[in-house]
Symmetry: C2
Amino acid sequence: MSTLASLANHQVRLASRPTGQPTRENWEFTTEPVAEPADGGVVVKTLYLSLDPAMRGWMNEGKSYIPPVGIGEVMRAGGVGRVLASKNDQFAVGSHVMGSLGVQEVASFSADQIKRAGLARIDLRAGSETQWLNVLGMPGMTGYFGLLDVGQPRPGETVVVSGAAGAVGQTVGQLAKIKGCRVVGIAGGRAKCDWVVSELGFDACIDYKAGAVKDGLKEHCPQGVDIYFDNVGGEILDTVLTRINRKARIIICGAISQYNNTTPVQGPKNYLSLLVNRARMEGIVVFDYADRYPLAVAELAGYLKDGRMKSKEDVVDGGVQAFPETLLKLFTGENFGKLVLKVAQD
Amino acid sequence: MSTLASLANHQVRLASRPTGQPTRENWEFTTEPVAEPADGGVVVKTLYLSLDPAMRGWMNEGKSYIPPVGIGEVMRAGGVGRVLASKNDQFAVGSHVMGSLGVQEVASFSADQIKRAGLARIDLRAGSETQWLNVLGMPGMTGYFGLLDVGQPRPGETVVVSGAAGAVGQTVGQLAKIKGCRVVGIAGGRAKCDWVVSELGFDACIDYKAGAVKDGLKEHCPQGVDIYFDNVGGEILDTVLTRINRKARIIICGAISQYNNTTPVQGPKNYLSLLVNRARMEGIVVFDYADRYPLAVAELAGYLKDGRMKSKEDVVDGGVQAFPETLLKLFTGENFGKLVLKVAQD
């Protein structure tokens, strides 16, 4: 009890909505005391936070798949933590949990808020804390349901995935290999490309910083592209559209190249390739599959265990103070693997 | 026999590939004698030709869903005709046929060519000659399979169709009404809009020449848009993307606003609405459904017979000489109903 009273909860709040790339001025740092949980409530110590491209969208005003973060609110973030205090039978003190903790050192939840935050216990025997934010977390679920449900891959098909070394990309590519597909990644830089081929087992990877993506697709997808899992949008999406096969599926998961635009989003000018090829372009939002997460986690944890799937997290050990700068790594492509902010030692 | 020898077959051939809107210089007029059919062959007198937006695409070089028309070749065109001479048991002299006749007064086919041209007998009790080029022909088939197979409408959903008074649009809208949907058209001009509402029974029609399409969608689609059947592309596609519902289906049938562009096609800058709304955009090419045409024709002929479906053809009585100018009416939006060129009296 006295433990909680001694804690100062450092937080990062959204101070203003950015135009283009977020700057330090868009954030406010606050400190709050920590109170005992109410009946049915729980208090969680944040250990690791997931930093994701989608965060940039949550900072904008306007209708989207979830409401924007309000001005003055603690920035939304998924994370892994440990229960510090509990008045809820589901969450024993000391157990590990995952959910929407926010960019703060301590997250307190009422019984209602537990549900809204999607707070759930996690089993560290299935994966490490950072793997629970990667292949066993939202990115993994996004890759799993995006590829399998929307993409419906068949053995022998060619799957191309952009952001190949990123959180979603690594799950998509490895899962497509497991399902019997030819897999070609697109990533920025030799190191990332080498890694997805030599470590993750992709058939090839195109370094978009080193040469024309079009030439890479011609070389590495001699049978054309059956599935394109798009995390980036922009020119790369347009280029892949010129190489798709009949009845191809393009999964729109994100468009990181466009998120900090101050000009209008660049629409895919080659979209009529969908017509010529009777192809389809479809969006995925992972929350729609929440009732099937446990099955997907079990399958993916099995692959981690038998070594068919690997994961790489880029862990920045900086605490919540480092959140603003760390987030920007996603947009420069500086991160290598799923970007995670370490907030506290377990 | 002497009848054929006395005929001069006037033809329109592609002389050069247009940049932007086709001009008279892109065409060549030729005259050829007509020979007796070989064994298994047939000679057909062209009565009506179908003029379609897709023709503009066939004039371009490059890979598409069918090869381009070659320079010097008779321009490809679907049409209805009457058999003048036959050495094929399937086609009696005097019977009416439909198929790829080309822009010429007489079409001669070997046994092989009959198949490639998709030549088939038609029954004028099911529909008139021009209806066989409209609701019972390619536009009708495109609307039928695009709406039902790709769009999968459910009763009560809101269907928006652009080019509403055009060949495909009129089938789509009326069929969607029959299937229990709310139907809102988009067309150019008061006359077309009034007609699709009062004659075809659409719930509303937005005149894109008279005001903002966005305002029209807000007013007439208060429950949002579940299915958008797109014949036009460009700004209208982008505007509809801002009004789609979760799990919406966008059928990409054409992009007539972009076909004569000399600048790159305008990509839908609001395509990320597909992501936010878990929606899908999918292309349709009617030829994929050829084995199911007879079923669709039977269903649509039934609706024509019982009065639930009407059709309107804009018949230009100009002969093949009038082909170049008549085609342009599609791109100015001057045609009212399915554009048909009358080549000869039956």
